[in-house]
Symmetry: C2
Subunit: 179 residues, 2 copies
């Protein structure tokens, strides 16, 4: 499960990246309403990595149990279409979280994420989330509420887009970010 | 906000409905992995109502802050299409939860829910959820995790359907349950 992490350059825990997180805080929806000390605590539970351009960090269809917080660089999100070829369905820059769905349910990845530049990211896996909830219940609840808000917002966007697409099947407007 | 509740026949707290909840437990995804005592506790935080056939229980576009757990009866879920006419996008039977998105973000309702028979349901609003978390942190975390799983599963379904619809724009197959 997510064995590819072993092949990435490990940068240790997130603590050395707290300053970077603060610099991009306005883009980190996950940390909305988190104060500095809360960010520092969450950072202790993140495992950070650096990968070169072109690295596939998350593989569509593979089991996964972590969420990724992109700290530096850009990623492309792609999913195989019905013809088997990958279709770009979104992109992500610093502050964006990716892979929350598998963090939550441990089911196969919905899409792939490929580094389009050198990328630095922190990952939060299921056991770290459980640990935060056990060690810091108040902060754990806050983090879960942020995850709920994130998924919820995405569900609203995707649902509205689906209804729109179904009522205008020939539409060729911009696709929404899916992952 | 959700002022319509005042117009429904109030049946009090959920405690008298615990036996009914147990009878339909296999259909209540929200209570997956909940034991009897946990269901009894959550029931104390539910406000229950009965409405006659035809009642619009949730109004698309209106502010809302509660989730509904359908205990008896059937509801139709509808959303206005681009022509302004309501389109049925799903239906719900006993055990189904509706309206989670507005419980979580307090934003306007995505769709309307209309009773297609006499219905009995419990509602959990934002302040009750906050209260459960404060009073019973372990149970509160479990409930939040179930909500995360619910939204997550729905996001996977809707996202997959959107990708499918976009690659087959002329498809006229069954619509997925959206709400």
């Amino acid at each position: 499960m997510d064995g590819h992490l072993d092949t990435f350059e490990s940068l240790g825990k997130g603590t050395p990246f707290v300053a970077l997180m603060r610099a991009i805080i306005e883009h980190i929806r996950l940390f909305e309403d988190f104060d500095d000390s809360e960010i520092e605590i969450v950072a202790q539970y993140l495992d950070c990595y650096r990968v070169p351009t072109g690295t596939k960090v998350i593989h569509e269809g593979e089991q996964g149990d972590f969420m990724l917080l992109l700290l530096d660089g850009n990623m492309e999100i792609a999913r195989r279409g019905s013809d088997g070829f990958p279709v770009k369905i979104g992109h992500a820059g610093p502050g964006k979280t990716l892979g929350e769905m598998s963090l939550i349910d441990g089911e196969p990845r919905f899409a792939s994420c490929i580094a389009r530049s050198e990328c630095v990211f922190g990952i939060l896996n299921r056991s770290s989330l459980t640990q935060i909830i056990a060690d810091q219940p108040r902060l754990g609840v806050k983090l879960m509420m942020q995850l709920l808000l994130l998924l919820n917002q995405r569900l609203r966007l995707v649902s509205a887009e689906l209804v729109r697409t179904m009522s205008h099947p020939a539409s060729d407007t911009e696709r929404p970010p899916l992952a």
